[in-house]
Symmetry: C2
Subunit: 212 residues, 2 copies
């Protein structure tokens, strides 16, 4: 029948979408350690079907987090383009932490090292390069403390990942307070206006001031 | 035989010590979720023996962490007795975070709510009361920002607990950097000397200053 191939392709796509949605939920709830069999069960497909679509967990992770990784790199690129270097830096820290507070899976995807996840690592390395530029620019503007290290971003994300709350709203609220503390610590002191030579002799020539 | 009761008591004590040591290791490595059966296996005793000694997991947790809880309350009490309010506050935050970085089980014991762990909760509540005094004193001295909340201690400990490193040394080093950032954010700006009324009329009577 002429309709059959289309129908098959539609079924395959539906299976695939169901697997990706189930993987995203499972990773978000339990982190990346969740076994492939549990994902197949959650998706309502056989393990063989799962492995036919996604031969490795890395392939599944990449597909499940494509959107979050894009959001992450988007935030870093917007920071680099912000005309105000400190605002760019501040916003990317705030946005990454908020995404992380809303989705534990995102956090796992961004923080976990995958030995075989070449494509994930490439995206991450590119975003790290852009972030390093954001950091340099904010330092050059005198807005970010000079001893801030790009490694501190992992410190922030790990710390933020440690927050445990009863609800997403509470997690986001706690994360905002944490990030605000970090940003206060990261901010360089406001730069002074340039130094001025004062006429010391003039001051010495005057009688000392007295109150009336 | 006359030696028998002593021998029995010595065996019982040895069993007990082995169980407590195994529980401490298991909690430190895997957190408090580790099942009682796994602890019995690790200690090399039967599950019945384990439950005869410790009828609830809470009793085992209390025994396993008696030392850490004492160290924790000791640090808080020393902070309250420090003649310098800011130094007291700073040191207790530093010490609690270092203990936590060295021992994941400590962290679980201090941060986890036990529905039935009355004695753990009592110790914790008492330490929290003393810490609230440390905070008030540091605020009254103008050293700690007035909007610091005692709830922020849990924020710090959770954030610190989120740090993951390959070794204890690396975990302690990361924790130190994290804590240093927190302390910079928590520090109040240095208080100003008291305001002074200046003689405005006197200033107006003089000719404006000029450089030579």
């Amino acid at each position: 029948m002429p309709g059959e191939p289309t129908q098959l392709r539609a079924d395959a796509r539906e299976n695939r979408d169901r697997i990706v949605a189930a993987a995203r939920e499972a990773f978000a709830a339990e982190g990346l350690d969740v076994p492939m069999t549990a994902i197949a069960r959650r998706a309502g497909v056989g393990v063989a079907t799962l492995y036919r679509r996604f031969p490795t967990k890395e392939a599944l992770v990449r597909e499940a987090f494509a959107e979050q990784l894009a959001a992450c790199t988007g935030a870093v690129h917007r920071a680099a383009e912000d005309p105000d270097p400190w605002r760019g830096f501040r916003r990317v820290v705030e946005q990454l932490c908020e995404m992380q507070a809303r989705d534990r899976g995102f956090s796992a995807a961004v923080l976990t090292a995958f030995p075989d996840a070449v494509s994930v690592d490439e995206v991450r390395a590119e975003a790290e390069g852009v972030f390093a530029g954001v950091v340099e620019r904010a330092k050059a503007a005198g807005a970010l403390r000079p001893d801030f290290s790009t490694d501190d971003l992992a410190l922030v994300l790990m710390a933020n990942n440690g927050l445990v709350a009863d609800s997403t709203d509470a997690a986001v609220a706690a994360s905002r307070r944490l990030v605000a503390y970090f940003l206060q610590a990261f901010r360089a002191r406001d730069p002074l206006p340039p130094p001025v030579r004062l006429g010391l002799r003039d001051a010495l020539d005057r009688p000392p001031r007295q109150s009336f």
